[in-house]
Amino acid sequence: MIKILLKKQFGEIFRAYFYNEKKKTLRSKAATAVFFGLFALLMIGLLGGMFTMFSIVLCAPLANAGFAWLYFLIISAISVVLGTFGSVFTTYSGLYLAKDNDLLLSMPIPVRAILAVRLIGVYLMGAMYAVTAYLPALIVYFVVGSPSFASVLGAVWLMFLVTLFVFLLSVALGFAVAKISVKFKRKSYVAVILSLLFVMLYYVVYFKAQKLISALLENVVLYGENVKKAAYPLYLVGRVAEGNGLAFLAITACHLALLALAFFVLSRTFIGIATATASGGKVRYRAKEAHSRSPFRALLSREFARFSSSALYMLNGALGTLILPAAGIFLIVKKEMVFTLIAAFFGESDMGALIFAAAFLFLLSMNTVAAPSVSLEGKTLWQLRSLPVGGWDVLLAKLTLHLLLTGVPAVLFLIGALVALRLSFFGALLFFVFIVSAILLSALFDLFAGLIKVNLNWTNEIVPIKQSMAVALALLSPLLYAALGVGLYLLFGRFVGALPFLALFDALTIGLALFVWYQVRGRGVKIFENL
């Protein structure tokens, strides 16, 4: 039974890898393998590369001083944070909000089988991120350290325990969000607030980590002894990787006990939460005077309602909406430091405009609202198709939502950047043009990606919001565009100067935005009207 359900679940997640939507045919085995290879390359190449460098710095000093356990403890902690961060936004909806809950529960399928399949999905999502951090560290240890046979086994076993711990943390958080949100009318906001608290914690740890690691490397023995005295269970976690039998048994037993407890609690509460529909008591209707709106405003309002109804959509599609103003405030507060740093590194503040343009593209990749918006229509698409609204009107509403959620917060970033950089009028104008054109290009590209990689057949909104090719393209495109900018500057731009290069890059961005605009208006509208 679990095998059947798993096949169904993974068939949905990796549908695009097996099935060609455009040709309505199955992909060849070779094409599927290429897709999976590219995915693995992306994960290992981008994230794994980063952690390899980090591990190289940390491993030799700790392992040579006889503190391999501390090295693995640190790596485990990072893996846990990354793994939980990767799955925190999806656990609640992955566990409880699948649209086929009622269907599956109505069939002779044991609840524990449905729950087990959902949990496997959560486990794999967290494990994927955790292993991306842990595995490079493990390989570095095998190369740099001098592991015994027992420590090789122990270190590999610890990787499994780390993925298990990530899973337990994610499930606990998903369960907490579920229990709290069933009591509130606006569940989505509860989930967003709780998840953002976790994200804030993540960033606090991230920013403090650099200092902590420097201090740790200088005082390995002292820190090691302190951890051993004050937090013996953590010491045991690290000792698992050194092949210590007692630590192995104790930590494994703890994990298994927690796992049994989690499964016991979840299996008792699953049906109640998964099938809960009422929220915050019944609201009695009172007729109020309604104001007429134009069809466009009605469509835009519908997009806002869709967006704000889903914590998953808000968190995954519009993190930049929070980060952009936060970055702007940071720049205003730290303007002297930023200005001094730019001047010290580059000798002129104009170069700062290019640096900040690249940083802005990085922040833009956090807003992918338009990318899943067409797929999210799902089975409700018939409504738009039967109403007297054109395809372009619908797409324009989706585009406008993206532009508002990115453009308005970007104003604060723009102000912060201009305050910190102290550009000339011409420089400020060029930077302003870049910000506006980059937002437009990004919104248009995301929408177009959502159209050409549309998927209306899903049973959990995680699929269009987090696991679709459209969103992957939307996430990567600003980063690749930033890389293109850096490449072009190094090749040609440095000969013409920062501001003339920014002017040329503005022209390129505007040109691309216009090109994608015409693609959306032409090909995009046709795709939408033929869905």
């Binding site: 529909t277 009422a278 929220s279 019944k282 609201v283 009695r284 209707y285 009172r286 007729a287 005077e289 309604a290 104001h291 007429s292 709106r293 134009s294 069809p295 405003r297 009605a298 469509l299 309002s301 519908r302 309602a305 869709r306 109804s309 889903s310 799902g378 089975k379 409700t380 018939w382 409504q383 198709r385 039967s386 109403l387 007297p388 609204v389 054109g390 033929n530």
Partner: protein, 236 residues
Amino acid sequence: MLDIQHLTKCYGEKKAVDDLSLHIEKGEIYGFIGHNGAGKTTTLRSAVGIQSFDSGEIFINGISIKTNPLAAKTVLAYIPDNPDLYDFMSGVKYLNFIADIFGVPASVRAERIKRYADLFELTNDLSQPIFAYSHGMKQKLAIISAWLHAPKLIVMDEPFVGLDPKASHTLKGMMREVCDEGGAIFFSTHVLEVAEKLCDKVAIIKAGKLIRSGTMEEVRGDASLEQVFLDSEGAE
């Protein structure tokens, strides 16, 4: 009001609808009957512009759904067999959204929402989110939304499924009212008794082809509609 001319729609090699022609006049309730997979839903979806078709023409009040879909859609309303509505809206927000799209003035919409919601005993639930609605409540909401802009043509796919007897009775009355005011209704059903009592005309479709159509008397003759339907299906 609805003129379907030589409609053909294929899914790959299979012809779902094959050279089908129908003409529905103002004031008519037109029933559409056929077994599962006969092509009823495909015909209805093509008629309201939800899906494209391979050949033929469809005119709504003289306007081609193919060449001028937006103008054609302003005078019609459609209710599918399984109304997947916007779960993230409340009932009243959904109705206001539909009213905004069709440009129904605020005062008119308030009066209509009250009238139809009262008729279907849905008024007290209008502030509830749609995800908390039962199938029948969603069906009622879809019906209210269809009637909200006073369309000239209403196309419905199995509209009685999920409705309680009282709501079914109400809907029948509303259908007749639309036709008395010069509108037209085109709907599919498997409930032959309803078709027999309610429809002015009826059409039977089999494997994408229209096999009988006309007034109730023309189609059934001296037999019952059920007998005619079963005979057309080749049953005993």
